[in-house]
Symmetry: C2
Subunit: 400 residues, 2 copies
């Protein structure tokens, strides 16, 4: 009755969502205040203070036929110009409105990009661990997702493995930094090497290979780490962005694609993206939210909120004896499972009301992901539960 692809998608349904449901069920049993739900990457900071006044002013001042009407499938020109200007100020780029396509979130943007560039059977390389939805986005257009294992010390990409994976069928490479699920930020050296390898391979195979940078966490970087913009390392880079995390608007589905002039036949690419936006049924990014983000593009989310959680959780788990990858961005902590099968570790953690997500959901077994976008006091209280979990696995903390 249902299509084959949807049957498959139903069978392999989201492990994150499944853990979220388990957390909800647990909360009904033991009380929500006693469940430490690290499953969902849902922003926990409110919208910026100026959000409501901005939207109200738009409602009062703009003609409703314009504010809620059709526009170009790529979005309002003034909105695209405001985003281009903002990027230019921050990153020294030289974009104009024509380099920007407004999209229904980054998920919409990624699908629009794949629709535009992928033919059936072409390969898309992704660095493990990776956001599991990429599997679906690539499968939508009959592409083949090729995961490349990481350097397990740093969780930067393994560049030798990457170079070997690129072949004449490779059409695109997905990068996602700051990374979901590891919280790792790719270094300049990593990015430079990726760009060099791709340029070499483009020449070798005489064809375009696109670097698709999925950047919903771009602004969520901590400590000395600076925001980075990734079009400078390689000419055929397409950026997908979302305001879900930077303005705490995940439900509003608002984002954009950047196509630099350096992209091969950039104008044709932009026409393709515009048509894909329309024909996939997005039509255009939601209109009121387009206008709102154009006004709020200089706003920042409350990074301190996440940073406090990051420090307490990372230091806390390390001192309990867990092996953690130091997170420098996003709001995720990537922890090595004390046992090979991390599903068992996830089950054991649940006994202590800790809701984690198995690494195999991200194409990387033996690890778990913690989304620390929850109330700080919960993070603090959860350390007692982690202590019991560490004890159960016989981990030796510092000073013990």
């Amino acid at each position: 009755m249902l299509s084959k692809k949807i049957k498959e998608a139903l069978a392999g349904s989201s492990a994150i969502r499944a853990m979220f449901v388990e957390g909800k069920e647990l909360a009904e049993k033991v009380g929500a205040e006693n469940v430490f739900d690290y499953s969902l990457g849902n922003p926990a900071t409110p919208v910026p203070d100026s959000f409501n006044s901005t939207v109200k002013e738009l409602l009062d001042k703009e003609d409703s036929l314009v504010l809620h009407g059709y526009m170009s499938n790529s979005g309002y020109e003034d909105v695209r110009a405001a985003i281009a200007d903002n990027l230019n100020r921050r990153f020294g780029t030289n974009f104009s409105l024509k380099n920007i396509v407004m999209t229904v979130g980054a998920a919409g943007g990624m699908n629009v990009i794949f629709k535009t560039v992928l033919d059936p059977g072409e390969e898309v390389i992704v660095f493990a661990p990776f956001f599991g939805e990429y599997r679906n986005y690539v499968a939508n257009f009959d592409g083949v997702l090729i995961p490349v294992a990481p350097d397990y010390n740093t969780f930067q990409p393994d560049l030798d493995a990457f170079e070997k994976a690129v072949n004449e069928k490779t059409k695109a490479v997905i990068i996602n930094t700051p990374n979901n699920p590891t919280g790792v930020v790719y270094s300049h050296a990593t990015m430079k090497s990726i760009g060099e390898i791709l340029l070499k391979k483009e020449k070798e195979f005489g064809k375009e290979i696109y670097l698709i940078s999925d950047e919903p966490y771009r602004e969520l970087v901590y400590g000395d780490v600076k925001e980075n913009f990734l079009t400078k390392y390689y000419h055929n880079t397409l950026v997908g962005y979302s305001f879900s995390k930077s303005l705490s608007l995940p439900g509003e589905r608002i984002g954009y694609i950047v196509v630099p002039d350096e992209v091969t036949e950039a104008e044709e690419m932009l026409s393709g993206l515009e048509v894909a936006n329309r024909t996939l049924g997005f039509v255009n990014a939601p209109s009121l939210m387009q206008k709102a983000v154009a006004h709020l593009v200089e706003e920042k989310t409350n990074l301190t909120f996440y940073d406090k959680n990051r420090k307490v959780l990372y230091e806390g788990l390390k001192s309990l004896g867990f092996t953690c990858i130091k997170p420098e961005g996003a709001f995720y902590l990537w922890v090595k499972s004390p046992v090979e099968k991390e599903e068992e570790f996830v089950r054991t953690a649940k006994k202590y009301n800790l809701i984690l997500v198995k690494g195999s959901a991200f194409g990387c077994g033996g690890y778990v992901r913690l989304a620390y976008c929850i109330a700080h006091e919960k993070v603090v209280r959860s350390l007692d539960a982690f202590a019991k979990l560490a004890e159960e696995y016989g981990l030796k903390g510092k000073g013990e």
Copy 2:
């Protein structure tokens, strides 16, 4: 460089959009006030009076983490319940929230439905003339669109031709009433026959065939014609709806799908639609607009605005000697071209600053579409231009 499908889509790009651009260019030459642009089906009535106050109240009273946050991929439960209640009151149905899936407009909804039910090579029947985007929506999932010619007297579907077109490969049938581009409303007799034929064919071929009712114009009916809700004629009916026209929110991309309990394995279907909504990259319908339409679901657009245009244009063109199909719904008038090749008629009309869209864009040559969602005074003034056009083609008006 671009995918084959996108290259094809670019080549056959929207004729409506092309005429809209021609209209804009003409406006720059002769002044916007002198161009009678009947190209775009863009609502011309403002949002209901209570729209702004509703949105402002939501912003003031709701927690921003909920109002702009993730929810189930099918939408907020309270929103879905409000829509089910509204349909039950109006149409005597018996829906609950679980029968409703919120979507990114009707275009998003149609793609979600096709993703859920279509396997490559399966056929989707559509009644000509039809909204040209259906071609893309079906092609997205490698389905084959099979147009069935109309009864040219009434522009109701030709039911004999329809019955012959249904075969073992048929997976779905699209209906769109009130119809774009004709303005025709399918009669009860038509709907009853379509339901009977489909039931017979389901039995004959031993498989499900879905009737997909695309209903963005549901509330736009005039005179004695009543709003109709189409799940009562056939058990496997899926409804796609949009608030674009009923609340004048086309840019906001907000709509829903209805899956009645009578649909075969309705629960599995609903799970499939939810997953398709997520994996296609819609994720969920825009959250603030979901909440807004739930509050505004009893509001109506200003039908009188369109009805005045409808009467003046239909009567005016008829008395000039044009052959017009009487429009009973939507905001379109379907006019027979005085010459076989309607492209020539469209070109000639442009000489008189009349912007029309060729019928072949809707799979039905020899006719043109007029979208009369423009200012009334323009409709009135355009009659002089139509008079000159009629004269050029030697049409004989009434009383001449």
